[in-house]
Symmetry: C2
Subunit: 280 residues, 2 copies
């Protein structure tokens, strides 16, 4: 954490909107993902709240969060085309803004559904209605656009970032629209390393990686299972955030080396080793 | 859900206390477990909140929850012996009760640590201090006792159930101290079935089970991986809750049969089949 000490303290809250989380049918991995990514860049998540797809509940939760004055409120869920996807309207209501058809957002939706030969139904058009004013956020993975809303009074500004609940969409939009902003605000660099590990299952490596990341919140490790049941392989992605570019690079290198050695100890072979440095 | 329709609507909230969830190092599986178990018996989880191991945050979150008047508030985390385990004191403060040494809770702690030949340090003795009045809840798996607190004014009563954050301890205490109460309150029966499946991995069966449980909140399926990497096996446990004992039994039987057939289709053999009926 030492490299992050000079960064300004930024507080965030996460609001997960979705009945499936409240019934336990879905584990709230979205909140964990956001929390990990924000922690990496020195942002402190103060609270995670889960409410149903219910206007009254969403309005209340957004207002309660704003009253605690975080710098960021990230919401996930409820942006799709179906009748129970009501998050955008409820969030607009909570901050006293009208919904307005956003032409840029509409053009993105039209482009996506044209490529799928699907008609522009009223349900799909609904997804182009965003709080006015707000900034439309494009969704590189799915259809539903997000929104970036400036809320709060003259004494404090809270950015509300409205994201979909589909994990791949949420992740892509967080990476594209928020993390670069936070890195600039925090004056941080992120060094990245990646290796491919063959011959062992993701589960075999998991305990070591769990232990490794616990030691340092500026370290982020993600594994992606690849290959097949009889030919398992894992893509291991490491990031290290620091105000010092050299330190970021050195620590990322150390981490990927540690993972590599553990994987070899477990009988794996390293099939690919990327060493590119990427400052987001 | 039809069998649950006659049950009284019971609303619950879950408060997860723990820095590890807010940094994303730990996914909030505890909340998902509680939500699944409560949904099974017709209890509606209205909100899940996660806060840090911080007195001010815990006090605020408990008071906010009580202001929404749920019938139950289940808290997890922060009951251990270390300096940052402050949940019991913070919850007591939130409801205006003093902490008092609970002799029964202390005797449980003494018994546990005696069997481990560990000394009764002040940190361990601390775990016997519970809100007064409250009912001590024994922990069949670990050391830290929980508490059952009656909170709220003359117009509404909220039961606050304070549980540890270690999943196995939390689960055992929820099963022992809360679910039987809810089943009685809701006048529900739970039928159970169990099979052992050999020759396939848990992951192979997971998509089918995920689909199966989505259809019916009165159905609960839990799988436990057993065996080894070259000799995998899975223990499949099914529960069905209904006001009608016969219906509970019939539906549990249908569900275990469906799992059995899918497992066989995937190439597994069924090695054990328990048919006992258990009304909790």
């Amino acid at each position: 954490m030492s490299a992050l000490e000079n960064s300004r303290a930024i507080r965030a809250e996460i609001l997960t909107i979705g009945n499936e989380v409240l019934t336990g049918r879905v584990v709230n991995t979205n909140a964990a993902y956001i929390a990990r990514r924000l922690s990496l860049v020195g942002v402190s998540v103060k609270r995670i709240t889960v409410v149903a797809d219910d206007e009254e509940e969403i309005v209340a939760a957004v207002r309660e969060s704003l009253s605690r004055k975080p710098e960021y409120l990230i919401t996930t869920g409820g942006l799709g085309p179906t009748y129970d996807d009501i998050s955008m309207g409820a969030i607009a209501k909570a901050v006293g803004l009208p919904l307005k058809k956003n032409e840029l957002a509409l053009s993105w939706i039209q482009q996506k559904i044209r490529s799928e030969n699907a008609p522009l139904t009223p349900e799909r058009e609904k997804m182009a209605y965003l709080p006015d004013p707000s900034k439309e956020l494009d969704n590189p993975v799915g259809v539903a656009p997000g929104a970036w809303i400036e809320a709060g009074g003259s004494d404090h500004k809270t950015i509300i970032m409205v994201l979909p609940g589909v994990p791949a969409e949420m992740e892509a939009m967080l990476e594209k629209h928020l993390l670069p902003v936070l890195l600039r605000e925090q004056r941080l660099f992120v060094a990245e390393r990646e290796i491919s590990v063959s011959g062992i299952f993701e589960a075999a490596l998991a305990p070591y990686i769990k232990k490794l990341v616990r030691t340092d919140s500026a370290l982020y490790v993600k594994t992606h299972p690849k290959g097949t049941a009889d030919k398992p392989s894992i893509l291991v992605h490491v990031e290290y955030a620091s105000a010092d570019k050299q330190e970021a690079e050195r620590r990322a290198e150390e981490a990927i080396k540690a993972v590599k050695e553990e994987a070899q100890r477990l009988g794996a072979t390293i099939t690919r080793h990327h060493n590119e440095f990427a400052a987001l």
